[in-house]
Symmetry: C2
Subunit: 346 residues, 2 copies
């Protein structure tokens, strides 16, 4: 199978996406990879998969590659004998953060009829924004951590007890996130968060809360990963998460009982189906007093969380043949024809 990997983008996680894409070379051993890079100006480039390395991008050398144009049905490059389509079976959207996770890439691929693996438009728009994720969870009967929402021009007061965690609503990879231990620190944390977004959510910071991650997708049946208990640190800062995105070796299952395992899995399924069909996502849960709370949906986990699966590559191939189909809409000009007739013009 020839898998096109789309990466880069106009995103704070542009570099993370490059690392994530290069890592896939070690993960996808049985597939052919076609690399399509989106530079920070949002131009498309066909990158030689033999020569790909991170310096190619930081040095600007990628600009010697073939530039591509998006047209109906695929990506095209100009050659000696006219425009030629880039061949691949399915596109994997590996743009983290803006452009990739916010619904733009999903829109582009759907509009231009390119089969792709990633959350679709609505799933992206809802999961990219942490406030909308709360609405979604509520509508599905999935519990989340309590929260307050502040916009840039709102009065900076909150009613919950400290410590709290302040998060820009639209970013991943912990960018702009702070733990605030007392009221005196709130202002600075909000300044930081509002650097990146006009909206923030504030949640109680629960000391020692158990955290579990579940990744998975639906192909011809459920394919769920092991449940991981991430490393205990206050939270992963940008640099640590960055290193995390290049992981390619398997980790161990969390030591939890069957009842909790089942609860986490059922909650994952409730969130995934049908909204996230066509994608591999990771849900991060908190467990508090036996209750499973959704913390975050990671719509495009770093390197797709390959290290949580036994047969990641096989799953990707199965998913590629089980993508959701867009409803086809027939346009037949019935009304225009009848108006023309009424006017005596047809």
């Amino acid at each position: 199978m020839n898998i096109a990997i789309l990466f880069g983008g106009s995103s704070y996680e542009h570099e993370i996406s490059i690392v994530s894409a290069i890592t896939m070379k070690k993960v996808l051993k049985k597939s052919t990879i076609t690399y399509i890079f989106v530079d920070s100006e949002r131009n498309f480039w066909l990158i030689d998969s033999e020569k790909i390395n991170s310096k190619l991008f930081s040095s600007g050398e990628y600009k010697k590659s073939k530039q591509l144009t998006l047209k109906q049905g695929g990506f095209y490059g100009e050659g000696m004998f006219g425009s030629k389509q880039v061949a691949f079976d399915v596109l994997l959207n590996l743009i983290h953060g803006r452009d990739g996770e916010d619904g733009k890439t999903a829109s582009l691929m759907t509009f231009f009829s390119i089969p792709f693996i990633s959350p679709r438009l609505e799933a992206s728009a809802l999961s990219y924004n942490k406030l909308y994720t709360k609405f979604l969870a509520e509508s599905l009967g999935v519990k989340t951590v309590a929260y307050e929402h502040l916009s840039k021009n709102d009065t900076r007061t909150i009613s919950m007890d400290y410590p709290v965690i302040v998060k820009p609503v639209r970013l991943g990879s912990s960018i702009g996130v702070s733990i605030v231990k007392s009221e005196a620190e709130l202002d600075y944390a909000l300044d930081v968060a509002f650097e990146f977004d006009n909206d923030v959510i504030i949640e109680p910071f629960i000391e020692g809360v158990k955290e579990y991650n579940q990744a998975g997708c639906y192909t011809d049946g459920w394919e769920l990963s092991i449940i991981e208990e991430p490393h205990k640190e206050e939270f992963l800062d940008f640099e640590k998460k960055y290193m995390d995105f290049s992981r390619d070796s398997q980790v161990c299952s969390a030591e939890i009982d069957d009842v909790l395992t089942e609860k986490i899995r059922e909650t994952f399924k409730k969130i995934y189906d049908p909204l996230f069909q066509g994608s591999i996502i990771r849900c991060d849960f908190f467990v508090s007093q036996g209750e499973v709370l959704l913390n975050e949906i990671n719509p495009i986990p770093g390197s797709m969380a390959n290290y949580l699966f036994e047969d990641f590559e096989g799953m990707l191939h199965r998913l590629a043949t089980h993508l959701p189909k867009e409803n086809s809409i027939g346009v037949d000009y019935t009304y225009i024809d009848s108006i023309q007739k009424a006017k005596g013009k047809a």
Copy 2:
């Protein structure tokens, strides 16, 4: 000002969009119009604004026009001397229904850096889906009509009293909508609605409820239309709405007191700002026992509801110079450089 009108699309409202676009010729008297048609296969065509008429599309004759390609910065056509950019100052998204109102066009225009008038990605994704509109309203403290939500595979039982109105969650222009007077009729109405969507919402059908429409936008200040009381009919069916989309003459203000006027206006502003910046929308409200309830957000009203405004064209020009700006994200390869250094490669 040269205004590009984007219309058509792969949408049940493809024909409505054509009518809406042609109507703008009568409305925009001081502007130059550049027509860009999206056919049902989602190819772009530059349509001669002198020759535009509905038959051009129903006959397929539009295919003799110049085909366009979307690239960074604009639309391009191939000519004798290479690729040439189509010149315009701002693009008006007039694709009704899918592609236009669901966030795809907003994604495309944002990605390709084209200044455009229409709701942005998030605003589109939330307002295109009637269920998500409920979440949005709730988060803003705006009241809506009570509702129940059914997915295609759910048991077909509801708990509210009849009569009810059944609506597919993702369509405009009353397509697939039924009024159901008793339980015996529910099954058929659901069959109809599920023809068009996998999700429906069901609301009480309130006999004789007062309905008021408010359109508007924010430019260098609020520009709100008159409040219209739409014609009293059970509801507008597709054909009637279709004719409605070609309206270009002004209507009269609803006869309501200042208190209600103010309530409607404040509710409109609460919904619009900041999510809908850059667009002209119409909100349809119900008024029941002095309370203002949001019925629907119409993110791209037919012919942009021009007939509700005194100076529609002037407003459009002002809006074109007050479009929201995307946050600029600098990509500087700091992390990749530092990894290169750590590896001794730089």
